[in-house]
């Protein structure tokens, strides 16, 4: 199973933005391997959430752990049967451990998108 977490510039903390996070952490629960990739959507002119969601789907992501997520991205991830869990902020490794211990909840609120406004 592949778990993805958007990361800040420091490649350590969970990024508050999903679509425009500079990096994404991919963690494979079977091999325990982890990989940090640049998010190709970070500088997109528009549709960053959609592009980032596509990036996750192309990586066969099963679980996304994020602080927030827009409606369009959520629709893509739901169509691809990727579950979205709510991150608690701070260190990504702590959030990953919390998820594996069953302590994170499904994200229930999806914002309408900031579209360059925030």
């Amino acid at each position: 199973m592949i778990i993805a977490i958007p990361l800040d510039e420091n490649k350590k903390d969970v990024c508050v933005s999903f679509g425009r996070a500079p990096f994404v952490l991919f963690y494979d629960t079977e091999s325990n391997a982890q990989e940090i990739s640049e998010n190709p959507a970070a500088q997109a002119q528009g549709g960053a959430g959609l592009k980032a969601a596509q990036f996750l789907v192309d990586h066969h992501t099963n679980i996304l752990i994020t602080i927030r997520c827009g409606q369009n991205a959520a629709e893509v991830l739901q169509a691809a049967e990727t579950a979205i869990y709510e991150a608690q902020g701070g260190d990504a490794a702590v959030n990953l451990a919390a998820y594996l211990e069953g302590k994170l909840e499904l994200l229930s609120h999806f914002h309408a998108g900031f579209h360059g406004k925030a």
């Binding site: 528009g46 549709g47 959609l50 592009k51 596509q54 369009n72 893509v76 169509a79």
Partner: protein
């Protein structure tokens, strides 16, 4: 002459200036590009109104022909298409109707269907042809309705007055791009000045000749006046707060059709910006 009336901040008097300039000309067409809340028609009360729907094109994918090659998804620079379970999926609000996906599809699996996004109303109010763009509620982009309103309005002779939406975003740029002159209506307040500077920056990039009308002025406001002087933007006229204008506006009356002195004022503004042929 094609004249775009802009403000940055909403509620400064774009419609007041646009409607009265058009009404003060010999023959004019007034195009309401503030398609989210078009209100010029409340003043003009146009007669013999005909309406026409405005559509955009939205791609449809024939699942029988699509072989999942992904060329359309990779082509879309707006990211309106995503690739899920080996099929494209469309996000209509993000689509810009460019038709690129249909062009690049090797299987000819993409067709474009018309999707209604708004309508135009075209009518006449004495010397003015009134073209009103109306965006359907909930639509994300005003641009298709603005394009259609401009195209229709430009087919009529006379002075063309484009009543632009507030702000300085895509819909404003679309409205002002085809104009020969940009007329700003600014409020002499900190907020009015700030938003005026934003839309002025856009107009400067587009290299349009421009001038300013101050509205609702209850005294001098040096920051704005100094800025105009420094940037060499002519200050064409100042309208003070006026109970008479407020009362005429509140009852939906076109001021220059009631007040001869005001008609001369608006005709003078037209003369100052090279619109004397329209008188």
């Amino acid at each position: 002459m094609r004249l775009a009336v802009l403000s940055g901040k909403g509620g400064t008097g774009k419609t007041f200036v646009s409607v009265n300039l058009a009404a003060a000309a010999k023959k004019a067409v007034y195009i309401d590009c503030d398609v989210e809340e078009p209100n010029g028609r409340l003043f003009f009360r146009p007669q013999d109104v005909v309406s026409a729907p405005v559509h955009t094109l939205l791609p449809q994918f024939d699942a029988g022909k699509c072989n999942g090659c992904r060329k359309c998804v990779d082509f879309c620079r707006f990211h309106a298409l995503v690739y899920i379970k080996e099929k494209p999926m469309i996000f209509p609000d993000v689509c810009h109707s460019c038709g690129g996906c249909a062009l690049v599809c090797p299987q000819k699996a993409v067709s474009e269907e018309k999707r209604p996004v708004g309508e135009l109303e075209i009518g006449v109010s004495e010397n003015v042809t009134v073209v009103t763009g109306i965006l359907n509620m909930g639509e994300a982009s005003a641009v298709p309705v603005i394009q259609e309103a401009l195209q229709t309005g430009f087919s009529y002779a006379g002075l063309t007055v484009i009543d632009c939406p507030p702000g300085s975003s895509c819909s404003v740029m679309e409205s002002v791009s085809a104009a020969d002159y940009a007329l700003f209506v600014a409020e002499p307040t900190a907020f009015g000045f700030h938003n005026f500077q934003m839309v002025y920056e856009l107009v400067r990039l587009l290299k349009k000749p421009c001038g300013v009308i101050l509205n609702k002025a209850d005294g001098p406001y040096p920051p704005l006046e100094d800025f105009c002087q420094k940037e060499q933007i002519p200050l064409l006229h100042t309208f003070p707060f006026s109970e008479e204008l407020a009362a005429l506006g509140a009852e939906g009356t076109i001021a220059v059709r009631k007040n001869e002195a005001l008609k001369h004022t608006f005709q003078n503004i037209l003369r100052q910006i090279g619109g004397e042929n329209a008188l």
